[in-house]
Amino acid sequence: MSEDTKGPGAFAEPPEDPSGFGPHVGASLAERYSVAQKAEGILAPILTAVLAFLVGGLVVLVTTGKNPLTTYQAIFDGSGLNWLFPWVSGVERQTAALNFQQTLLIMTPLILTALAVSFAFRCGMFNIGGQGQYLVGSFFAVWIGSSLSGLNPYVHVIFAIVVAMIAGAVWAGIAGFLKATVGAHEVISTIMLNWVAIWVGMFLFGLGGPLQNGAQSDIPISNDVVPGAKLHVFWGDPEFQGLSIGIFIALAALVVYWVILNRTTLGYGVKAVGFNPEAARYGGISVSRNYFLAMAISGTFAGLAGALDILGWQFHIATSDIGASQIGFVGIAVALLGRNTAVGVGLSALLFAALVNGTSTRNLDPSIFQPELASNLTLLIQGLVVLFVGADVIVLTLLRRIRRRKPAPV
């Protein structure tokens, strides 16, 4: 699938066209991406999102006959984004503030799981395992956070976060290691690792599991995080879904991501391998080392997401959440829509967080649109975004070829 195609028996493609796309289109997905990015800048992602929302609105119109605009308006209000408008006041403003806190709470892990996808993407890999890495991170965070109750709060929080990041790195590192050593495709191994993580979580926190709640043995839930290990909540109710400082950690991660990729040797190597592993190897860059490191760093981001969710507002894990959680998968759409850039990921994380929160059962006004329907609408929009991103790379590449008749930059 990857490395092994160079063996003596490999007779996959003629050498002058290793990709099968033709000489004008880049070999790797990462390279095709950058072509699209340079071609149309910010226009393409906005167009993608608008198109997805249009189709989603069409679905609303056709199936329920309701006005898509009022539906989207209700979702917008449910997300609390109207808090940003200065003319919203009184009770409405209080509700909006509560909703907006929740949106930012969802945005926090979305940024990080999206970075987990993006970083691997820049190295030419598709990390579909953000969900598993997120879960493993949250398992360790809840384990450390709910034990060691005598510890100094600062030490406790930092310890829990660091362990969760390492756990995520190790979980993703398995896939990176397999890719680097035996050439196992990272998509397959990360899908499998996702499911292993889910079932291990079901085992750990399920009835009779080793980390199941000590006080109530009949509920499949973990112990609560001790007060000392909780993140500081600076806006809203500290006990119930107030906004913790986790959002700043996530924003800082965006900066770290940008710095690693654009200002370090490691980032240079990762991007070089992502563009063209052959050329990178020829230039003296260790491809397998970068595969492993890129996956491990990806997993670090996802593990951090799990820790911030647990220590910031969830404070425990129930087995029902483990199966239902979609944060890692939404992260894929966020990363793709954000074009794997730091700014793009931040903005599209806000968009998807608003969408997820605005369509939740609690926040969407049921008299306007049924929330159970709307949450599936989110999935539809998410799928459309991924589909269009996959296709618009091609559309844009074609456009570029017709316009300039020049080979794509390598």
Partner: protein, 410 residues
């Protein structure tokens, strides 16, 4: 013409040679695998030997045969024999620790095998479907979504028309439509196949969930209005011990799944059509130059894969549980993908892997007799086994050479 070509088809030097040379060793390896199973069986009902010594002897022979075969170059099957011996002894040892009464309630072979068939059937349909797609060079990680389409639309049509035939047909068609959409993006637009498949999974999950809530509301489908796919009653097997309880009363779809394995193997390896599919998957340009229409073959293979996956989904909803629930496939499409890889992209191999995974599900359902949490952990087994398989510990799984590469006509 066909037979000559079928045997001398793909000139993939190392793997193909390895497959042909040590045929005698493979028989030895099979003996090892069987011995491992016998070793476990000794300590289980109906013999229920209370000492593990005999089992140890038998399993050691299995492991030694396996090692011998591995040394002589047949790594894959030798590895299976070693694993069979090791797992066999572990099972036997655990069984001697348990009381006879408990063993006899848990290990009822006929019931276990009957459940294995029920669990394996949807997997077999999807895995064989995936095989057609991947053998033609299109990776299909959208199997999960296509299964879900089949499951939902089968229930919908069945419920509206009161006919399981129409239900099944509509279910299969819906999977075909989803696959066609995917094929258009993957083949014509040459979108990245992993992205496209991920998008299809999101879209199908959102679409089925949306329509389900829209049509049936949050209460769900009433199972008494569903015309289930009938069982086939073989009266001559009625009184037969062991075989009777397994095969006398079996759902039509289970027989169809077993038939499908045989037919697809013949089609894939003994007919010109199969040869064309494989040549397109191994080297599309070469296939193109001898006049094979690469796009047509790929379109039909992908559509067929969607239809088969949907048939598996339809069995789940109108053959097995008689209702639909949001995301009811719950990762079975990914298990099917895993089985396909585990079975090395071959029909019998994939079906054997499906049966193995089905058996582990069937056993997991009975393990709560011992421990709830252990039976949960058991569910992770298929994924762990697949990870080990892709890691190349038990021989390397080799995908078709052009799997995942879009083809551009020159």
């Amino acid at each position: 013409m066909s037979s000559v070509n079928a045997s001398g088809a793909a000139p993939k030097a190392p793997t193909e040679v390895a497959r042909q040379l040590p045929h005698g060793f493979r028989i030895v390896a099979w003996i090892g695998i069987v011995l491992g199973i016998v070793g476990a069986w000794l300590c289980l009902p109906p013999i229920t030997e209370r000492s593990w010594v005999w089992s140890l002897v038998v399993c050691l022979v299995a492991v030694m045969l396996g090692i011998g075969v591995v040394i002589r170059g047949e790594r894959r099957f030798g590895g299976f024999a070693i694993a069979s011996g090791a797992i066999g002894f572990a099972v036997a040892y655990l069984a001697t620790l348990s009381s006879t009464g408990k063993l006899e309630t848990v290990v009822v072979w006929s019931a276990l095998f009957a459940a294995t068939l029920r669990y394996a059937t949807p997997l077999i349909f999807a895995a064989i479907g995936g095989m057609f797609s991947e053998r033609s060079g299109v990776v299909n990680i959208g199997l999960e979504g296509m299964m879900l389409m089949g499951a939902f639309f089968a229930v919908l049509a069945d419920d509206k028309t009161d006919s399981w035939i129409i239900g099944l047909a509509v279910g299969i068609l819906s999977g075909g439509v989803a696959a066609l959409v995917y094929a258009f993006f993957a083949i014509h637009l040459r979108a990245d196949q992993i992205l496209g498949g991920t998008a299809i999974n999101f879209l199908c999950l959102g679409l089925t969930g949306y329509l389900y809530i829209d049509i049936y509301g949050t209460e769900g489908t009433a199972s008494n209005t569903i015309q289930a796919i009938p069982d086939i009653h073989l009266s001559f097997l009625d009184g037969v011990p062991f075989l009777g309880p397994i095969f006398a009363q079996v759902n039509l779809m289970i027989w169809l799944a077993l038939l499908l394995v045989v037919v697809s193997s013949i089609v894939m390896f003994r007919t010109p059509i199969g040869l064309r599919i494989r040549s397109v998957g191994e080297h599309p340009r070469a296939a193109d130059t001898v006049g094979i229409n690469v796009y047509a073959i790929r379109y039909s293979a992908v559509t067929l894969s969607g239809m088969l996956a949907a048939a598996g989904g339809a069995y789940l909803s109108i053959g097995f549980v008689n209702s639909f629930g949001e995301n009811m496939t719950a990762g079975r499409g990914f298990i099917a993908l895993a089985a396909l890889i585990f079975g090395n992209w071959r029909p019998y191999g994939a079906a054997a892997a499906c049966l193995l995974f089905g058996f582990s599900s069937a056993l997991a359902n009975r393990l709560p007799e011992y421990s709830d949490s252990a039976s949960v952990l058991f569910q992770a087994l298929p994924y762990v086994l697949t990870l080990i398989a892709v890691a190349g510990v038990i021989g390397r799984s080799t995908p078709p050479a052009a799997d995942g590469r879009p083809y551009k006509k020159q």
